[in-house]
Symmetry: C2
Subunit: 173 residues, 2 copies
Amino acid sequence: MTARLEPNMTDISRSGCPINLSLEVLGDKWSLLIIRDMMFGNRRHFRELLTKSEEGISSNILADRLKTLLDEGIITREDDPTHKQKGIYSLTEQGIELLPVLAQMAAWGYKYLPVSEELGIRARLLSEGGPKLWAEFMDELRENHLGTKRRKRTGPSVGERLQAAYDSVVQRK
Amino acid sequence: MTARLEPNMTDISRSGCPINLSLEVLGDKWSLLIIRDMMFGNRRHFRELLTKSEEGISSNILADRLKTLLDEGIITREDDPTHKQKGIYSLTEQGIELLPVLAQMAAWGYKYLPVSEELGIRARLLSEGGPKLWAEFMDELRENHLGTKRRKRTGPSVGERLQAAYDSVVQRK
DNA sequence: CAAACTGATTGCGATTTGCAACTGGTTGTA
DNA sequence: TACAACCAGTTGCAAATCGCAATCAGTTTG
């Protein structure tokens, strides 16, 4: 959007409270949705994030948020070798560790807000799975986004299970 | 700020995703800070929330957010019997159950952002205490905000322990 | 070579933010 | 009873942000 005066940082913060600092980075209506789509929808390109999201973010907002998330070290960007213009966005460890925040937020929303059935199923499974399932999913994210060595795998991944559950609900309706 | 056309609801939502719905309610830079101050600072009056917060919210924003949080069922307001003008704001069960969200957000901020020592100590203790400590603290919040029957208590409450830790760091500096 | 696709950028009106001043009322004190 | 201090907000206004639509320049596909 508006170019920031300095490349990054130097933004004076309102306080050194961890919650406040987190909100200064993520406290808007889009940033965490972008993280969500990268985590659960495996969206890695600008176009994917732009067009395949439920909520319909506009391109200038998306570009601005991606820039901020880059500056904050929550995501990285690298060139896609198959296409000179495409960039591949990846979560950093810092970004991956936002999963528990998203999981708690999803659990709260699932319990108290008018969540649609198909979009609620992931929240339910994630909530029921608890921190152990979150850790497993975060390991998978490390594989996909950080290129961490693949561990032994028995059965479908958490990501696959969440997707399968979603598909199954959509199918049934 | 701007009066909503209808008392509440009827705001069309971007999607039925639990994370999106949560962000539509809480996705701004102030709402969760107000919740935080009610939870950890035991701020219950307008003036307390206005003047005793680290970040310095302005009165119109505070009034607007309190209205929204009321509409959403996250807090309630009752008259203070000791003062005809004072209102007492309390968390609902729905509001109290935002604690895990705040705790995860605090833990993430504590790990990755330039948190001040005195304001980080609560985050550290809360993170180390884990879900078990959160549940204990939520029970205390139910006592203080919902008037739930007081359970047997051994030693200082979680709230007191967090406050004592904060005071101790401030003292030492 | 043209159409479609890529990651963005720009213009612009509508909305939201945030500061400061202010309102109408209540309480404490002399 | 006068008066200052305190209470919960409200109002005005300028600045910043949001969000839609159009556009852009380079890349790939047919």
